[in-house]
Amino acid sequence: MSRFEAILLDIEGSRDELPLGLGVNSVTLSGVRSQFLRAFGSLFYAGQPGHLALAAPQYCFADTAGTIPAVLGGQVARVNSPVPGQPYLVQETAAARLTMGRHPSGGIRNFATGAAAVTNATYWPSPVTQNGVTRTIVATGVEAGEQWIEYRFQGTPTTGNNSLGYSTNLSRTSAAIGQTWTGSARLRVVAGDASRINVMRVGVGEETAPSTLITVQYSAGAPTNGTENLATVSRVLTTGNQVRVEANIVFLLDEAVDVTVRVRGLQLDQAATRSAYQANFGPFDITEAGIPDAYYLQGDGVDDHMTTSDTVNMSTLTKARLVAGLEKFTDADAFYGVSHGLDASGGNLSINKTAGNAQWTARSRGTGGLATSTALAIAAPDRAVLTADVNRATNFLQLRYNNAAQTASAVALGGSGLNATLAVLAQPSGALPMNGRWYGHAYADMTDADLARVQQYFASRLGETLT
């Protein structure tokens, strides 16, 4: 263990991450979280070749000059390396930029997109007139960690059924036949004459295409006497491949109503029961009390990717390890998570996942031609810490999924260069873009101990338990 590393191991603090690669004397040692430095502190401090990039907000910018911080749901034009002197990742073309997001590190459970964004008219519009009744937002807030919104309903209903305000269409989520989905929300009458309410409830809608509804399954009606009730309904999908959640109120007809209803903690779970609440503020901003946020950059599988601003020169090394945190969404075709050449023609740490037959494949190209590691079958979820080992001295290229045993693959690599552009979520040319999330990567000559730390770091971001 180096002196630098020994110092870092003793550091605890509040700042998440700080630039690495500085001399010991120039590093500010106070206020640094040890986990990050334990993972990366020893890899680059003396100028060792390699590359480190992380989807953490402090490194992500909306402009290529690196002057405008990126925002959740916004495009990322540049990702600085935490290591001074290393190339940054950049995307010059606006349409090909990744989108920054966060989710709880344990994964997303609340699929009711934007349900917590109670001050955002996209998700909770107001005023809206429906079936003779106009609903208007009168208050919003947070109670026991769950966002709530109050709508006042006024008018004479012509048809009983009215939305409780949420834009149910925006919760539309891909699903599969046989899955169980649960919609839930806490409903309460807070003002007005509740006697005009027939029922308040939550529904889970099953669709075969956007707005092609099979049916909506509703919960039992909530009490309308002012008591808060957790309305919950579960549906096993029979036909549809997408679901959506709604909150709903049915009035008695033909008499004027004036009633205010609070909706709190609306949630859509892919499960048979409601889980601990997650605040879903939009497709790229989901958080959960007590659970660390995992930041990521998301590629759309069409054109989104980034490349390094300069080549990453590994030519002084005979061996290197590339570790990346990735999640892949789409089942079809081959897509690339992180790409770096053993020569300029490219080598890739990639995911090749077809329905029912998931694989990770690491590949390299030397002057001797294409070499591919033994394919490694994995099981869902497709969220993983992926590691590729390259050793030119002994001619092997290996692959590791999380920290499981490596595939025993020995291939003739050939080639002498390790000096090429590194790309994220596609090949450097932009070909074969990946529809999924990138959490970061580290590429260096790592010892086994370093490798374990780096893998644990990415696993903590992904919410994966290493096996």
């Binding site: 749901g73 916004g74 495009q75 010059e92 073309t93 606006a94 349409a95 090909a96 930029r97 989108t99 996209t122 269409n169 295409a209 956007p210 707005s211 092609t212 939009g282 497709p283 790229f284 759309d300 599988g301 069409v302 054109d303 989104d304 969404f329 789409t330 079809a332 075709d333 081959a334 897509f335 090949q427 932009g430 070909a431 074969l432 873009p433 529809n435």
Partner: protein, 121 residues
């Protein structure tokens, strides 16, 4: 934010790029940030090359531009609108000579709906 995906037949690429530069400029991007937007390619079932782009845009971007775009003769637009009558996705087969814009589905879903498949390495 909402996803905008555009596919252009190879013959319409210059028009698509010009339109992208124009709309990008209207919404705060530089021309240089849009010139390369239609570099990625996909193939339709007939083996024809299409140039594609997809990105997150604001609801305001859509609201401000969809009216003018819908008047262009060589452009068809499909919007995921719950209040509208259901209509069929435009596809590479049904509109082989048109620039196709889909607003709503993810980029990868939009390309699949249009009938464009991943580029082979």
């Amino acid at each position: 934010m909402i996803t905008l995906t555009v596919a252009s037949p190879a013959a319409e690429r210059e028009h698509a790029s010009a339109l992208g530069v124009y709309l990008g400029t209207q919404n705060g991007w530089t021309p240089e940030e849009w010139i390369g937007a239609f570099n990625p390619t996909r193939q339709d079932g007939e083996g024809n090359t299409w140039h594609v782009m997809s990105m997150q845009v604001s609801e305001g971007f859509v609201a401000n531009n969809i009216g003018a775009l819908s008047q262009l003769p060589n452009l068809v637009i499909w919007l995921d609108d719950p209040d509208a009558e259901p209509v069929q996705f435009p596809t590479a087969a049904s509109d082989p000579d048109k620039i196709i814009a889909l607003i709503g589905p993810s980029g990868i879903d939009a390309l699949a709906a249009i009938g464009l498949f991943a580029q082979v390495e």
